[in-house]
Amino acid sequence: MKNLVLFLWKNNFTIVFLLLQVFCFYLIIQNNKYHNAAWYNSSNRVSGDIMSAVSSVTQYLNLKNSNRALADENALLKSMIAALSVDSIPRFRNPDSTGKYIFHSARVVNNSFIRRNNYLTIDKGSLDSIRPEMGVIGPNGIVGQVKDVSPHYATVISLLHKNSRISAGFKNSRFFGSLTWPGMNPREALLSDIARHVKFSKGDTIVTTAYSALFPEGILVGTVKDFEARDGSSFYSITIELSTDFTNLHYVYAVENKHREEIKNLELQSQSNDH
């Protein structure tokens, strides 16, 4: 016993080191799980407030670009209203799709795009009815998925993350695959699982599909930049130029799908019936 105490005392440096490393790796592994409400990330109040203050300064530097993006979006919305008002609304309105999605606008207060796994922090939280797993889109296309939520802030897993996987497909045909980010370039992502028989060309538009409960159907993802089919593979691997510029992102919308709970419960019920 005395020897053990002496041993511990002599090696306290190594033991403190090992304990701290074990704790660090516990945190890293904890944080790798999706949607855990942890206090030690930027959705906590103190760091959120600091980031918010910094962002309110840096915003001025980007006012010109933000204004232009908002103006562009306004123009687009106006043109859509104009198209709708051609006395066609009463006849073609689909009762299922109206009001299925609610858009909550938010300001980006923290954003990264050079790491392997990138996150954003937005200045709306559970008090503004932001919930984990909501989709997030920007003025030019999809951005990511809400991870953790505090009363006033939320963190978002960027599309530029090794775990992000989004169902996306061609706008003009109905073929779809899954979109992932291989790292390196914040402007490019990879679309896989598109079969060899599908015909498409460079510059084709890629949008979200109806199979994901995260995003409304038809939200812009990007355009085909390049593609290749490896020998022996029955699928293309397609490089997509993302429409969202993550290096210049200041306002986003969290998308609330009012039917998400319903769909989820139904799917759970079907799965549990299997057993």
Binding site: Q21, I28, N31, S47, F113, I114, Y119
Partner: protein, 172 residues
């Protein structure tokens, strides 16, 4: 003693703020993110309790983690760096050992000594950090390149910071 603690505390706050508010937003060519907060651990006095410097390393790494959503990654790399520091100091120790109360800063130990000392610690920290972040050895050389490029940027920033503050000290 009290002034020493206050100096440490102020240096910690200043370096963390500089890192979080300024350097985390500077991303050279989308590839390089310099880390200046390591200077805090590098400048701990030589005779400082080793166990306590590990705790300091954890606190400073964790403070960065909170702002970058990387829970534990910076902390793990910084703690490893602090663990290796006594060995690095021993390898590069001057012929007649360190003076008591000595701080291994550039103004005290000279440019060459400090540059080598800082490079070794930066390489330990950055390689650990970038491999934990990637969590795979599959793109080994890409990750290594990123770590070393960022390391060169960190070294440059830390040397500049030492030049600026070292000059200030001699004027006093």
């Amino acid at each position: 003693m009290i002034t020493e603690i206050i100096t440490l505390l102020l240096r910690f706050l200043a370096l963390t703020a500089l890192q979080v508010l300024l350097l985390n937003n500077i991303q050279l060519s989308g590839f390089i993110n310099p880390y200046i907060y390591l200077l805090f651990i590098m400048l701990l006095p030589v005779k400082f309790s080793k166990g306590f410097s590990l705790v300091m390393a954890f606190v400073s790494g964790f403070a960065i983690d909170i702002f970058t959503n990387t829970a534990g990654m910076h902390a793990a790399a910084t703690v490893l760096m602090a663990f290796m520091r006594p060995a690095v100091l021993r390898i590069f120790s001057p012929r007649d050992g360190y003076e008591a109360e000595s701080v291994p800063s550039m103004s005290r130990m000279g440019f060459n000594w400090f540059a080598v000392y800082a490079s070794v610690l930066i390489v330990i920290h950055h390689v650990t950090l970038f491999f934990i972040e990637a969590f795979t050895f599959s793109s080994f050389f890409l990750t290594l390149t990123r770590a070393l490029l960022s390391g060169a940027a960190s070294l440059l920033i830390i040397l500049i910071a030492q030049f600026l503050t070292g000059k200030f000290k001699t004027e006093k």
